[in-house]
Amino acid sequence: MRTTAAPALLAALALAFAAPAAAQMRISLGLQQEPTSLDPTSDATAAINVMLAQNVYESLTTVDSSGAVQPQLAESWEISDDGRTYTFNLVQGATFHDGSPFTADAVVFSFERARGEDSTNPRKATFQAIEEISKVDEHTVELTLGNPDAFFLFDIAQGPASILHPDTVESNASRPVGTGPFMFDAWTRGDRLRLVKNPDHRNAENVALEIVEYRFISDPAAASAALMAGELDAFPGFPAPELIAQFEADPRFTVINASTEGEVILALNNARAPFDTLEARRALSHAIDREEIIEGAMYGLATPIGSFYPPHGPAYVDLTGMYPHDPDMARQMFEEAGVLGDTLLLRVPPFPYATRSAEIVQAQLGAAGMDVRVENVEWGFWLEEVYTNKNFDMTIIAHTSPNDLSNFARGPDYFYGYDDAAFNDLWASIRTEVDDEARFALIREAQEYLADAAVHGFLFQLPALGVFREGVEGFWESQPILYTPLSEVTVR
């Protein structure tokens, strides 16, 4: 046996020297938007959730790539027969990145904070629906809702429902601490943010990436150059559809066109003339040609919608044929409504999908005899003048939240100016219907109702275009919720 000792020793030495040389698996990701805070429970900036939800922060529940709710920090739950009381059984042995244990106290604290008087949670309404929340024991939490809510388990999977620790909650805006598979490492504001793998995570053995670096690049040409120069491995939310063809043609890259929850609408001000009448709104629906808008504004990379529900959803009905494109009929209908030739104010926020669509909408309505004045405005201006003061006839905006048919039940103060008791009742029954098939039937009814009332010009579903270097795998090909989880991502 002595004769084998030397080769074994050599092999061991070789391993010892080879081990440190083995490269850590790292990835460099481009992001267009840079958040100003890293706390998703007090700031709605999408980039916070894209980077940190599911990676640094975790919630009681999670949502998989098909949009189905799955357990996360709650390993199971029971719902009472009246659909109002939830008992969550929490995972045991999970810890926060600073070493503090995850227990029922953190859950109660996070939810109490989110529904409190001073709460600035972007989804405060979700938490205010909780009547009571209490700790049963270290690993069990019970809460009671005012009314049954079919979307509750989905809503508490979102970034604003992240579970935080009372000791670190104040510093999360610049030093996030969660329970997720990656830990915050460094943030050079304006430039990059780095995460490192959390070796103590309960799923750590299945996580391949060691280092994740996000680079903030807002300019589309610069984003494209950074990918071409090999500075980035991937750009999950690539900002420029016009540059996608060049990456599709290049064998060094793959392109993913993921469907999102973002419905792009030509929103009409239902509270003032001319779109306070059904005839005028229907005339507009006949005047717009979605295919032409998608071709011109999105380079063909989007799916048309005929109502307000994503085409990949389980209750989708295709209503794109309800108002065939017909400028002559539209003109006649505008005339019958007594508004033909009126000037319409189209105020457009500074997003490429909106500004490009606006020009085409202007031309299409022009062909139907309407005079459209396009005003491109800055985001702060849009929020105040369009969203708050409702000073517009039309605008173009993507609604990116899941389950946002609720927008149409927000009453006359919401910028749609749409107030319809029948729809409010319909939405209330959707929200409280906990049986899936029955709820899907109601959601189909709601889509048909909104399309029939032609509340807005429903345009297309916003795609999430991702460009990935060859060898980068494991990113989701759909985006049913605002996450970009990295646990399954590998780099070759």
């Binding site: 709460s119 949670n121 807002s218 201006f381 969203y387």
Partner: protein, 314 residues
């Protein structure tokens, strides 16, 4: 000189104070609600109200302005609405990059412009002169962001000699300098083109003067005449333009920092305005104003130094 300094200092303070008032007024007139920008369009009215109260947006404008001025005088520029950290921390961490860009751009501009401008004047109506005039015409015509994109395509994407953007920080000086070469080049092209033309025409004017002809007649070496006798007397218009250019270099960094995704003050102010982050905008605009006014002040002092005749008038 003492009176001159006093007068300039009073003017300086008045300018800065006026600028802070204008910025405060504009940011309040401008439509836009910081709370809505932060919490998004799905936020409930209650959450928005809670945030407005936390940010102190409910006080009257004049009260807020007075509080701001009071704090600023003690060196406290407040807390950023959107970043929730002290404004001074944000500004200080980004200042080195923007100053490196602006100073690097200025040094490169001056060196390039003096060599090309004096060279062109010395070779008046020869091929060297035409070459400089032609190149500077192109330099003036090309917008800096476009020049930046062309530089990236050539040196970062095709040749891969230099990074396409980003800034690794000064802890790694070699990488930092490499990261700054293209942005500084993009900033320099336009500015150097303008300054080279000014230098050329100013030098040509001086070269027609009698003392230069005398020096030539006495057989002084050509280079010595140019650099020791022509240049100093041609400097007044050059210094004026350099002073103006420094101000436009500082604002030029806003564009260049976006194209090269550099974490500098330009991008910060851009983002701060979009977020309606009043304390941050206020501090940054005041800082830019101070820089510009200081540079103008230095230009005036340099005038006096290079042209003793002005001392009597001052």
């Amino acid at each position: 000189m003492g009176y001159f300094l006093l007068r300039r200092t009073v003017g300086f303070l008045a300018t800065v104070l006026t600028i802070t008032m204008v910025v405060f007024a504009v940011m309040n007139i401008l439509p836009g609600d910081p709370a809505l920008t932060i919490l998004g369009i799905d936020a409930s009215e209650q959450a928005l109200a809670a945030l407005r109260a936390q940010l102190g947006l409910n006080d009257p404008v004049l009260v807020r302005y007075a509080a701001w001025i009071g704090d600023a005088l003690t060196g406290d520029f407040g807390t950023s609405h959107s970043y929730r950290v002290p404004v001074s921390e944000l500004v200080l961490e980004r200042m080195p990059l923007t100053l490196s860009l602006a100073i690097g751009g200025m040094v490169a501009t001056v060196l390039l412009a003096l060599v090309l401008g004096i060279g062109a004047a010395a070779n008046h109506r020869k091929s060297g002169d035409w070459g400089v005039m032609f190149l500077s015409q192109i330099g003036i015509a090309v917008p800096s962001f476009w020049a930046a994109m062309l530089l990236v395509l050539l040196f970062a994407v095709h040749l891969q000699w230099l990074p396409p953007g980003g800034f690794p920080g000064w802890s790694d000086p070699v990488a930092a300098v490499r990261a700054l070469i293209l942005p500084v080049a993009a900033l320099t092209i336009v500015q150097a083109a303008v300054l080279a033309r000014v230098t050329r025409s100013s030098a040509l004017e001086v070269m027609r003067l009698d003392y230069v002809r005398t020096a030539r007649a006495m057989g002084y070496p050509r280079q010595r005449i140019l650099w020791r006798h022509v240049l100093p007397n041609a400097l007044v218009p050059i210094v004026t333009i350099v002073g103006l250019q420094f101000a436009s270099l500082i604002t030029g960094t806003i564009v260049i920092e976006n194209v090269f995704y550099l974490p500098g003050l330009g991008r910060l102010v851009f983002q701060a305005i979009a977020n309606r982050d009043l304390p941050l905008v206020q501090a940054l605009v005041t800082l830019f104003a101070v820089i510009v006014v200081t540079v103008n002040f230095l230009v005036d002092v340099i005038y006096v130094m290079i042209d003793p005749r002005l001392k009597a008038r001052a």
